[in-house]
Point group: C2
Chain length 352, copies 2
Amino acid sequence: MSGQAVIALDGMGAERGPTVVLRGAEIALERHPGLRFIVFGNAQRLEPLLSKSVKLKGVVELRHTELAVSPEDKPSHVLRRGQRTSMRLAIDAVAAGEAAGVVSAGNTGALMVLSKFVFKTVPGIDRPAIAGFFPTLRGESVLLDLGANVECSANNLVQFAIMGAAFARTVLGMPRPTVGLVNVGEEELKGNETVRAAAQMLRNAALPLEFHGFIEGNDIPKGTTDVIVTDGFAGNIALKTAEGTAKLYSQFLREAFRRSIFSRLGLILASGALRTLKERVDPRLYNGGVLLGLNGITVKSHGGTDATGFGTAIGLAADMALGDIAGRIADDFRQFGGLLNPSGPRAAAMLS
Amino acid sequence: MSGQAVIALDGMGAERGPTVVLRGAEIALERHPGLRFIVFGNAQRLEPLLSKSVKLKGVVELRHTELAVSPEDKPSHVLRRGQRTSMRLAIDAVAAGEAAGVVSAGNTGALMVLSKFVFKTVPGIDRPAIAGFFPTLRGESVLLDLGANVECSANNLVQFAIMGAAFARTVLGMPRPTVGLVNVGEEELKGNETVRAAAQMLRNAALPLEFHGFIEGNDIPKGTTDVIVTDGFAGNIALKTAEGTAKLYSQFLREAFRRSIFSRLGLILASGALRTLKERVDPRLYNGGVLLGLNGITVKSHGGTDATGFGTAIGLAADMALGDIAGRIADDFRQFGGLLNPSGPRAAAMLS
C-alpha cells in the first residue's frame, strides 16, 4: 500500500535516543515514499541530526518542546501535567487533523492513557486493545490483547475479535480473516466461563470474520488462525514467552555450533542460511503494538528498538492510516456491534 | 537419586500402544535399577510384549483388566463407572500401598479426577496443581499450574508456590528455590488483583523458598527463577506457546539450511551440533506433568510420547517417590500453611 500521509512522531521516546526516530523515518520512506512527518521534541537535539539527513529534507516539520515523558512517569500524572510533552503534542496533532497517526517508543501506559483520552473510544467498544503481528509457520498472525486489559469480559473478547479482524483486513490484506479464541483446550466445555461465553457469541453472530473456535498456545506460532484473541494477561505472557523461547533457541544454537571444528566450519558455510533464519524471526520487522478501538491511530514501538524497528512501526502506522482502519472499525461496530451485547446499555435503551 | 520403589503403570493409556509403556519401563530402569512395576491392562496385549523383554523379567507384575479409559471419556463418567479401568486400578494400587506412584499417558481430566478422589488433597491445600519442568538458559525450571485450575485465587497461587518449591527441592535438588509470580510487568502496581494479593502474601510469609517477585513471560525460558507460578489458564498457554515456538524455530532452521549448496554442506558438517541442540530441547526428556498437592504421586505422560518420553515420566515418578514429595509438601503445609490463610477455615477454627 502506498500513498500520502502525515505521521506524527514522538522524537523523545526511544531509549537509544532521537537518532532512532529520524533514521526510522528515513527507513519508512523507502517503502512509503509519500510519507511526511511532524516530529515533536527538543530542537537542540533534533535539529543537528535532521540537518545531516538528505532523505528527510522537506519531509519533516520539527516542533520544539522541552518536555518529554519518561519511562518512570505515572500515566495519571502525564495525563494531568503532560500537556506540553512530545508524546502528548504528537497525539494532539492527530486529533487536530494535522497528522493521520502517531508513533512513539515511549512509556506504554502513558501512551495508552493519553491516546484514549484524546482520541476517545469508537462507539460500541468498551475498551481499546493492543494488537501486534508476528511470523508463524503459515505467514503472519495478529494477536490481541497484548496487555491493555488484564481482566476481560466475554463482550471485550468479542470486540477484540472484530477489531483484530479489521486490522488483518486492512494491514495484512486478508479479505475474511480466521479468528481463534485462546483456551486451555479445543473442546467446547473447556476453559473459564468468559471464553466459553465469548465463543458462543462469536459462533452465533454474523460478523466480517471466520470464527474458527478455540485454539491453544501452540496454535499461536503455528498460525492456525489469522487473528488470535485472548485477554491482556494471557496475551502478554504468550507473546513474551514466544520471544523468550526464540532467544533461548538461538542461544542454544550458537552454543551448539561452537562445539567442534566441524560445526564451526559448518557454521561458516551455513552463515547465509542462518542469516535468512534470523531475518525471518527478526523482532524489528514485527515491531509495533497498535492501539485498536480508538478514533485515531497510535502505534507503540518497542522502547529499546533501533532505526529498523522504528521504521517498521512507522510503516505500520502508515498502513493503518492509508487503509483507514479507524473508519473500518467504526463501520463494523455500527453494523455488527448491536448484535453482540443484548444485555448491554444499547439494547436496554431500545427496550425502554 | 537411586533406590527401591514400585511404580504402578497404566498399560493402556499411550496413543502408540502398550509397547511405549513397557519399553519406557526398560529405559527408566537404566537410571533407576532398583525400580519394580505393576502394569495394569489387557493381558492378551501385554503378555506377548512382556515375554520378549529380558530387562523386565522379574521386575514387572502384570494385572489384567479388560477396561481402559479412552481419551474421549468424560472424567465424571470414569469416576462413577471406571472402577475396573487400568488407570483406576493403577491409582488404587498406590492408595493400597502396593506402589509408590502411578504413571499414565491417558485422559488427563480422568487421571486428575481419579487421583484427587482416591488420594485426597493434602490438608491445607485447596486445589492440586499440575507442574512440569523444562530447559531454560540457566538450566531447568518448574512451571505450575499447567491447566488444572483455569481460575485461581491469591491463596491458590501461594499454595502453588509452596508446592512448586517442594518439587524443586525434591526432584531438581535445589536447596532453597527461587520463586517468581508471572505478571504482565515487574512493577508492584501492575497486573490483576489476584497476583498482587498473592505477591503480598509471598513477600510477607516466612516460607521454605526465596520469593523473587513478579516475572514476565520472557523470564520463563530465560530461567530467571527456579519455580514459576501462574494460574492454569496462563500457564497452559505459556507452556504450549513455548513448545510451538520451538517447533516454529526448528522448522525455519530446516528451511534455511535447504536454501543453497553451501548451507546443505554446512548442515552436514554441523549435524553433530544440531543433534546436541535437538537433545537439549527434546520434549521427551522433559515429559511428565506431575499432580502436586495430593497424598499420592501421579505423573501424566504426554499421550503421544514414545518409549523415551514415557521412561522420563517414570523416572520423574521414581524421583518423587524416593524423595517423598507428598510427605514434604504435607510437612510444609503443616508448618507454613496456617500463616497463609488468616481468613481460611483453620484460622476460623482456632478462633472459635
